[in-house]
């Protein structure tokens, strides 16, 4: 067998494999559409306003910094009608008392997962989508007040379920594709941590840990988070500019906790399609985007 015949056979084999692959992809497309992931890394900076009467009766104001990763994708089931969203974030607040001589430091992390029903609304010039559904949030961290004695820290922990909603409007700014979006997170009920009014961490340390978990509802706790974002589509890259507002308050055991953040958001990311062997694509695959 000559080298020429080898090359001919190899080409035939490649063509056959390719045709099997195309056929498989065509078959897969009819069953499983492609569901690209919107993935955005963002940073935020803004103002923080905090009150925690376990540490001080006074309100503290200062700087808010945060990092977040948002991941949105159409669901595997009914992808035209449902999307899921995951956001992992961490934030730091450095605040000071009214006199400006004491500083508090708050470090918290949050995981938020939501499942939302999507409705597409035909707008005159572009595509408007409205989404609403359920969400679960886990948030925890601590507020540290270094100048205090036995109440030097206030631990935070909160798990909730609630409502989530999004509105997305895809349009153009001149020739630039732009996505305007608004997200609302509204926890309704859950469980959160709070010490009793004058309970010390030493007492917990020696074993008295009863009564620290509280059922949270709108009668003793209210949380809300809003994000307004403008996503500028610069080729395959998305530049996000936005505003995030987070509000949390609780009132239990005569302890008042309030936290309010306003922040400017800047992020970068894009719509990513993972193509494994099961996702071999046709020339015109059926793609279902989550928000774009």
């Amino acid at each position: 067998m000559t080298i020429k015949s080898y090359i001919k056979r190899l080409c035939c084999l490649t063509a056959m494999l390719a045709s099997f692959g195309m056929a498989g992809a065509a078959e897969a497309d009819s069953v499983t559409p492609l569901r690209p992931v919107v993935s955005i890394f963002s940073a935020e900076i803004g103002g923080a306003h905090m009150l925690d009467t376990y540490l001080s009766p006074l309100r503290y104001n200062g700087l808010h910094l945060g990092l977040a990763w948002e991941h949105i994708q159409a669901t595997g089931f009914a992808p035209e009608r449902w999307i899921r969203r995951l956001e992992l974030s961490a934030d730091y607040n450095r605040t000071h008392n009214p006199a400006g001589n004491h500083r508090n430091h708050a470090l918290q992390a949050q995981a938020q997962w939501s499942l939302m029903r999507r409705w597409r609304v035909a707008a005159p010039t572009a595509d408007l989508q409205l989404m609403a559904g359920g969400e679960t949030t886990l948030r925890g961290g601590m507020l540290y007040s270094g100048h205090n004695s036995n109440n030097v820290v206030s631990a935070r922990g909160h798990w909730s379920i609630g409502a989530a909603a999004m509105a997305v409007y895809n349009t153009r700014l001149g020739r630039l594709p732009v996505t305007l979006s608004y997200r609302l997170s509204l926890p309704v009920a859950g469980v959160f941590y709070s010490p009793e009014y004058g309970e010390s961490y030493y007492e917990m340390y020696v074993g008295n840990r009863g009564g620290l978990a509280h059922f949270g509802w709108w009668g003793n706790r209210f949380d809300m988070e809003n994000l307004l974002a403008v996503d500028l589509h610069l080729g395959a890259t998305v530049l996000r500019l936005g505003y995030r507002n987070r509000f949390a308050t609780s009132w239990v055991n005569s302890l008042s906790v309030r936290e309010r953040n306003h922040a400017f958001v800047i992020g970068i990311g894009g719509e990513i399609l993972s193509l494994g062997y099961r996702h071999a694509t046709t020339a015109s695959p059926h793609t279902i985007s989550s928000i774009y």
Binding site: L58, P98, E196, S200, N208
Partner: protein
């Protein structure tokens, strides 16, 4: 349907507003700061009833002082305000209560009015002969021909490493008894109390009970929670020989708790003076002007359910006078040595 939505909306709004409980904030004026301080103590201080303090009357009394001091000029300096607020806090008669500014820290330290009953230089020179070992904030040596162990712990704020403590107690293995000198030890971390006591017990010890305020009322307290110390299993222990604890009025706060717990052990004798008290775990708050206020927040009871806010009495009361100091004698330490030597004879 619209009515139902309205009902749900109104209910949800009312509930959300219920969670939004705002706290009063005070103006940064003389009256505002006094009001803030008075309110903090009124709502958080844990011994108002036990001490019979007429705190309601205090507010009017010291507000009048502010007006009187301001006089016709209508102004009051920061130092004048500080002194008036500090005077108001002294009504509480509590060493754990301090007003802390950038120029002063008010205090009500009872031990300053009593014989000091401790002279570090005298002990170092005449009993340790400037020859001692130091680790983990502890100073230690064997004295009296190696029969007596001497352990000086100057502050419960100094962390005690378990390995360090092993080394220290091993050093005392051939002694006939141990003296633990916590005179003028102003307190620190209660966790260090547990670390130390755990070397001197053979079984689980009921150390005492701790309570806390459950609300703003003067009588709003939780049921005292009993807490226990476990022996330091697997560590070097000192449990079968007499221990003498030396205390004075300067043995305050966590040291007061240490003396109270040690006194409950059968092999322990407390020698010296009544401790300084301070059985309320302190919390801190602040005033609009930026000054901090520290106050007793959570009462700690001894194993018999008593408050030791006014101190723990010694088993053997001995004072150290100026003649003793002039003669280079420490009668409290000498009594402790005598007790250990005679313990074997008895």
């Amino acid at each position: 349907m619209t009515k139902l939505f309205n009902y749900i909306y109104i209910t949800a709004t009312m509930l959300a507003l219920a969670a939004c409980h705002d706290e009063p904030q005070w103006d940064n004026t003389a009256a505002g700061n006094l009001d803030a301080l008075w309110t903090i103590i009124d709502e958080h201080y844990c011994f108002l009833d036990q001490k019979g303090v007429d705190w309601d009357a205090a507010k009017g009394k010291y507000m009048a002082k502010i007006k009187e001091t301001a006089g016709e000029k209508g102004k009051i300096s920061q130092i004048e305000l500080f002194d008036i607020l500090a005077e108001m806090l002294r009504e509480l008669d509590d060493g754990h209560v301090n007003l802390i500014s950038n120029f002063d820290a008010s205090r009500d330290w009872v031990w300053e009015e009593y014989p000091e009953n401790y002279n570090e230089r005298l002990v170092n020179e005449n009993y340790l002969h400037f020859d001692y070992r130091r680790t983990s904030g502890m100073k230690y040596q064997v004295i009296d021909e190696g029969k007596v162990g001497y352990l000086r712990y100057g502050s419960f704020s100094s962390g005690i490493g378990e390995g360090n403590l092993d080394a220290v107690i091993s050093y005392f293995k051939d002694t006939e008894g141990l003296i633990i000198d916590v005179r003028s030890n102003g307190g620190g971390y209660l966790t260090n109390v547990e670390t130390l006591v755990a070397r001197f017990i053979t079984e689980r010890l009921h150390a005492g009970a701790i309570s806390h305020k459950t609300g703003k009322g003067h009588a709003d307290f939780s049921k005292p929670y009993d807490y226990y110390f476990e022996p330091a299993s697997g560590r070097v222990m000192y449990t079968d020989k007499p221990i003498i604890v030396l205390a004075n009025r300067g043995s305050f706060s966590a040291t007061n708790t240490f003396v109270s717990i040690m006194k409950s052990l059968p092999q322990v004798t407390v020698v010296g003076d009544t401790t300084g008290g301070g059985c309320g775990l302190p919390f801190t708050a602040e005033l609009p002007i930026g000054w901090s206020v520290r106050f007793s927040s959570a009462p700690i009871y001894d194993s018999d359910g008593n408050l030791t806010e006014w101190g723990v009495d010694p088993d053997i009361k001995i004072d150290m006078n100026n003649d003793d100091i002039a003669a280079g004698r420490d009668p409290i330490l000498e009594k402790a040595i005598e007790l250990i030597i005679n313990y074997k004879l008895n």
